[in-house]
């Protein structure tokens, strides 16, 4: 329970936050909802010299139209996203995926950007963002850049976010017309995180699969797109046989995690099982 000491500032603007980050250098960390960072600090597993609180910056909040898709402020909470009619209308996948994250209290405080920036290999948001082809707007005092979520995660708790950068926005392009989506997970019973979580966006055109994205979390040291699954499905009829054949590739190329809750063999098998189930469900929902 007892954390080591640290400094704290709560800048009023994003520019001030960036200046704070630059000033404190690698010693500084960002905090928004705190639900990724504080648990580690309480176990004295993360040591932090200075916390910059960006949880209230208006520039990082809100949900708006973005080219027919949505741009979601990085410090928007799960609760705010789950309550958004726009999200419900355009990205039911987010509703399905985020409704089971943590618990009521966590969803009230936790933020989308915080989860992505933390790059926890077992959290749900990275898989959802991968399946949705999301992009991230990152800003530092030196300027801003946009990166694809695909490629953003480098390892367990390691991402492409630089120490002097703040994630400003998560941009989700419109999904193809008639796309079906699904998120299914096998939960680690103690922590509530995912042993395997599979997010799928799938669209058909003329009786064949014309678009498919499969984001997988919990299986490897970071969330990834199951590209072999996607390529096997593309152009297929999207029927059960094709789905089963594709799902067998769910963990291709991955160094699969192994722990007391799911050893490598079981986790690999579940990556396939839950990929099959999630793709089946998305395909059934596609129109």
């Amino acid at each position: 329970m007892s954390m080591a000491g640290f400094g704290y500032t709560r800048p009023a603007t994003l520019d001030e936050a960036l200046a704070d980050l630059a000033k404190h250098g690698p010693d500084a960390k960002l905090i928004a909802g705190g639900h990724s960072l504080l648990p580690l600090m309480k176990m004295r597993l993360a040591s932090v010299g200075h916390l910059v609180d960006i949880g209230r910056l208006r520039e990082l909040k809100g949900i708006r139209d973005w080219n027919g898709g949505l741009a979601i402020g990085a410090a928007t909470t799960y609760r705010e996203v789950l309550g958004s009619a726009l999200v419900r209308d355009r990205f039911p996948l987010l509703i399905e995926g985020l409704d089971d994250i943590g618990d009521i209290q966590v969803r009230n405080r936790g933020t989308l950007g915080g989860s992505l920036a933390h790059a926890d290999p077992a959290s749900d948001m990275p898989a959802l963002a991968l399946a949705l082809d999301a992009e991230l707007l990152l800003r530092s005092s030196g300027g801003e850049r946009t990166v694809k979520v695909d490629g953003f995660f480098h390892g367990a708790f390691v991402s492409d976010l630089h120490p002097d950068e703040v994630m400003v926005e998560i941009r989700i392009p419109a999904s193809p017309d008639g796309a079906g989506t699904s998120y299914v997970e096998l939960t680690q019973p103690a922590s509530g995180y995912s042993l395997v979580g599979v997010a799928v966006v799938l669209a058909k055109s003329g009786g064949t699969v014309s678009h498919v994205r499969v984001g997988v979390t919990g299986v490897a040291d970071h969330a990834y797109r199951a590209s072999a699954v996607e390529s096997t499905l593309m152009g297929s009829d999207g029927g059960s046989a094709a789905i089963a054949a594709a799902a067998a590739h769910a963990a291709d190329g991955q160094e699969v995690n192994s722990d007391i809750h799911a050893d490598r063999e079981y986790r690999t098998a579940m990556a396939t099982a839950f990929t099959r189930r999630s793709v089946e469900s998305a395909a059934a929902r596609a129109t």
Binding site: H35, K42, I104, Q105
Partner: protein, 166 residues
């Protein structure tokens, strides 16, 4: 030290804290409101649940400084002195507590649930308690208590609507 100004159970308070102080420590130790409990150190058990700006949060996973400017309600503020919130009454009526340690957090989480879903079924109630552990009751009577409170609150809402000026 940082100065934290917040409204707790309707009373404005200002407390000087180290940045590492948690909201739960401020509530329990600085303000002496010990109805909010600490049952774990991994942000899971929910015994520390309070309402911050109207929503349930785990006060062990909020820095006191993050609550600056907020309005906080704890179990002690759920009803006027001498009165009971319908959830408190229902937990008593339905034997929804044994040792009582998880109870304040359970009630605060249930209040958040009932604010958004006035008529939850048992599955919804059990799902809403995902972040609150109880080791005594097997949850059976907690679920019954929350269902009872929802029923009473619906009746109460209907009654007060009828009684309201038209």
């Amino acid at each position: 030290m940082e100065s934290v100004a917040l409204v707790v159970n309707g009373v404005a308070r200002t407390v000087e804290v180290e940045p590492r102080r948690l909201l739960v420590q401020l509530i329990r130790e600085d303000l002496g409101l010990t109805g909010t409990h600490v049952g774990c150190d991994t942000s899971q058990c929910g015994a520390c649940t309070v309402h911050m700006d109207g929503v349930a949060v785990k006060s062990c996973t909020v820095l006191a400084v993050q609550a600056d400017g907020s309005s906080v309600t704890t179990i002690e503020g759920m009803a006027p002195e001498g009165g009971l919130h319908p959830l408190q009454a229902a937990f008593w009526e339905k034997h929804g507590l044994q040792c009582g340690f998880c109870t304040p957090g359970m009630i605060m989480t249930a209040a958040d649930l009932l604010a958004s879903d006035t008529d939850p079924d048992d599955d919804a109630i059990r799902h809403a308690l995902e972040g609150n552990f109880c080791r005594c009751t097997g949850y059976h009577n907690i679920v019954a208590a929350i269902r009872e409170a929802a029923n009473k609150m619906q009746v109460g809402a209907a009654t007060s609507a009828e009684g309201a000026p038209r």
